[in-house]
Amino acid sequence: MRQAFVRTVNEEIDRDPRIAVVTAVISSNEFPQENERVVDVGIREQTMVGVAGGLALAGLRPVVHSYAPFLVERPYEQIKLDIGHQEVGAVFVSIGASYDDPAWGRTHQSPGDVALFDTLPGWTVHVPGHPDEVTPLLRQALKDDNRVYVRLSLHENTQAYPVGEGFTALRHGKRGVVLAVGPMLDRVMKAVDSENADVTVLYASTIRPFDSDGLLKAVRDTDHADVMVVEPYLEGTSAHLISEALQLIPHRVRCIGVKRHAELRNYGTAEDHDAAHDLDVVGLGSAVRSFFRG
């Protein structure tokens, strides 16, 4: 996905004189440093976002990029004030996701990034599940003037799906609905298959804005208003939007994601962490079995 991001930005920066890139060392050598619209500020993430806000105020379309915790968590107030409060747009692109490389420890994990963006109005959030989804999402973001967060991951599905606002129904069933976000799709499908669950599976590579109408329609086409959402970041991040979408009908919701209750201090691999958070096929299968039984 990172390669697709770099390739797309480098293609578009030659075509569109509005596009600028701001980095804080990470990935900076991927972009043409001789271009005056490519600005590497050094290891200064707050200034990275502040400079992006200034560039946007001057009429440019900044792409801001770093590892997720350094792009979102460290300069969170700059995102809130230097971008949002100034009512300007930018395209934020992260790598690292929740725990793409947990050998680096907690400092390089960012399961709360989407939840943080959820505290701010007006952000579109893309969580592509395949490299081929990255390019069209980015191309559209670069054309627009809005505030966009693109969350890239080393984990990807085997197949890309058409992108755009709204959830894509990949399977129809009667027992309930499972919403799989980005790279969670393949394992959700395997879990559903392993349990022979008669459920509708929705796929989302764009999770904000939240497709409330799409979810409501899918739920109404089933016999049970039971919704399971599987997100590759903090569990329950989309719970409030599901509740809002289904507020007029009695429903059950099961939120699965990176667990909140304790900080996991183990290193290991992403697969180890998936298992610890029940985000592997075994854990998801168990959740599907218990939630949709009866």
Binding site: R44, Q46, G50, V51, G54, A58, L60, L81, D82
Partner: protein, 210 residues
Amino acid sequence: MTGDEKHEWAAASTIDVLWVLYDKVLNVTPATADDPDRDRFLLSKGHGPMAYYAVLAEKGFIDESTLDGWTTWDSPLGQHPDRMLVKGVEISSGSLGHGLPIAVGTAIGQRVGKSRGRTFVLVGDGELDEGSNHEAIAVAARLNVANLTAIVIDNQSAMYGWPGGIARRFAVEGWQTAEVDGRDHEAVFAALTAPHDRPYAVVAKIEKSY
């Protein structure tokens, strides 16, 4: 009067520099407030914007009658300025340490856009405690953002002061610097219009008060 002596002093500290800027230095008027070639003034030290509003009113950016209702529900004028509510306000500010990094970005943006405009940003000496300023001071020099002028209002409110003086903090990073009596309009004008081929910091010294 607001009953907020600390922020009233913040306004009193900036009034002379703001007046010289808008009266004699900045190439911007209400008619050119959206012109890409305008000079941009960023009030980073958004606290105590009464002086800012007064100058904007005198220069026609806002109606003078608006001043009376400030901070009320329907007023566009708050204790911290909002660029979406007040014509001519370049950034919404109030949280310290944001204006200088943004100013580096606007100045680079002006340079990229071949604009004749310059960027001026006003910060306080206390505000310089915020680490984000020091990130921006270094970056502006490394990228030689020569169309950027930072004005530091030094009313000696930094908790621990700046050994060697504020100007030195900028100079060691490669900025051109000047120190001036912040109450002396002619001296402030001369400093703000001095030629510079590097980012430029003008430290305007103000008497210590509150």
